[in-house]
Symmetry: C2
Amino acid sequence: MKDKACIVGVGESAYTRDVELSKSVLAIQLEASMRAIEDAGLSPKQIDGILPSQYGPTTEELAANLGIEELRFATTVHMGGAAAVASLQHAAMAVSSGAAERVLLVSGWNGYSMQRARNILSTNVTVLPGGAIARDYYMPYGLTVPAQWYALIARRHMHEFGTTQEQLGAIALAMRKHASLNDKALMRDRALSLKDYLSAPVIADPYRMFDCCLETDGAAAVVVTSAERAKDRKHRPVYIMGAAAAHPYPADEFTNREDIFHTGLTDAAPKAFAIADVSPSDVDFAEIYDCFTFEVLQQIEETGFCERGEGGAFVEGGRIEIGGELPVNTHGGLLSEAHVLGMSHIVEAARQLRGNLGKRQVKGAEIGVVTGWGDFGDGSIAVLRR
Amino acid sequence: MKDKACIVGVGESAYTRDVELSKSVLAIQLEASMRAIEDAGLSPKQIDGILPSQYGPTTEELAANLGIEELRFATTVHMGGAAAVASLQHAAMAVSSGAAERVLLVSGWNGYSMQRARNILSTNVTVLPGGAIARDYYMPYGLTVPAQWYALIARRHMHEFGTTQEQLGAIALAMRKHASLNDKALMRDRALSLKDYLSAPVIADPYRMFDCCLETDGAAAVVVTSAERAKDRKHRPVYIMGAAAAHPYPADEFTNREDIFHTGLTDAAPKAFAIADVSPSDVDFAEIYDCFTFEVLQQIEETGFCERGEGGAFVEGGRIEIGGELPVNTHGGLLSEAHVLGMSHIVEAARQLRGNLGKRQVKGAEIGVVTGWGDFGDGSIAVLRR
């Protein structure tokens, strides 16, 4: 599949945290979709494939409202936060096999004003990949939200490898710094110091407030087409060099895993790099699914940017900031831009590779990586190039 | 994608209509899955892709319970009764692109003992592709179940083309006749005469009792692998020559359609035949999603087995019975075998093409077609060969 499919359009709705501005998930997703389609220089009628989010309107509702007349490809990836990047793999397969020619990916929600992520389990556990286990075995013991599950894994990493709270803080600070360069970032005007970080309330030890991602109303969308069709588009095409997804074992819960740090990404990353025929050292920046700070560190390790246990040192010293060795989440990520379920990471990667992001442009960016991370450790990754 | 992927394993759970035998959907789907995997001569550990049903356990629950350690491909097709055959297309793409090597498809439910199809809208309308429209616009006017929606379309066909109740009856009788040759068919011992058919109670005019499919507890499963890997399997491989899926316009409801008979299948069928490089006249049998009798007639027309309006005459005179010109639903279908959401049609087609089905074998069967049909007219089709 190497280089057979391209991202040719990206778009977002407004990102808000205001109950007065609340809209339906359908309205928010349509706003992002229309912008991505327009950015691709297409009309909705030309879209013939949809990869919707599991947390939103159905394919049929999107198609009817967009006026898509010839829809011939649609499937829903149920991988939580890993779904957006896994959907990119599916879209690449669809256009390279001829099942569809122009595929729309969209995800987002009214995650602040309506279905707050913190309540996700109390409202509908089955929306999570391992929902039944969470409901039956975790919730009775008080483990009700993702922050609690992942806190256990973060603490284990600190115990085994000496990872520090300050290193987690370095991740939060880097995302916040990047957000200050992004007019769409909800936290663009809120500077964060290490002192602020360390004095914030504990949510689930070792996670403090700024280790946790934002709850947001918003959506982002992407249009994928074949490399051939991408050539005459408005913007420089962004090639999908390689993509892969995988589930950990067992897939439905994490307490019985032999190796708690071995997730879907551990298996998917080498596969994606092999298809792309490049290695982590060739990568100029990474947009990493940052539901919490430690998950960034873990994915940096499991993607192969450093060895396991070295993630703490890796994220220090500005190495993951713009201008550093591997800029991470140049838009501010889920931690400081907005939480639209991973699609904004793809949007940002595509814009970096178009090369005109102004003050937050990674200079000379040729190859970027985007990852996805779903409960309880589903992983996805795409290697992109300009 | 022509001939690049094969069906190498098929299996079913027990099919029951007995609340005393009720099991969880997960248990039923695991039973069918294990049989399909065993039929393929594989162990569950060798499966690396899952296409689950939208109406059942999550991919993660299936993977964990089957002991699948290296799961690298999973997506859920939300097309109701069109999902199983559309999933076959996705599986073919996955194995031919290298995203996975051995993919499991499974669908089924406890549709008799627990989640009866007749109550599907009152319990959870969003499980249907056009659920929101049904809830907001159809239900307030009393159109609460699929039998009612499709009855309107059947009546329109009768009005426009002179299709008769007896012709719908010929479909019900053919399925019942085939069921008598199938030990797994729930209606194997219940002979049906035209007189029985015509004197049965009206459900939603023109649909009488025997126009409507069964509610069943049961599941069926299929294993797909690449043509290369299929060669050394236990059974003769069944090649996926071509497959396609499509949605009608508008996709989320049917009352505003310019052409009420133009469904997803109308668009998908020529595409699948073009990929397969054969035509409807080359087909030896067809397994057609038979939620109701008229939908068989409509799909016969829209697949191109005859012209629109000629379906009524086509189904008469034993033409769709084993021994006829185009045997349809040789297992008895949803009407007389069991309703497991379309997967049993794929299972039956594969068995016909293996060529050892005994008394219900279509002699000399070389090429078969399987279709799927989802609310409100999502369509899918696969052309298979021995």
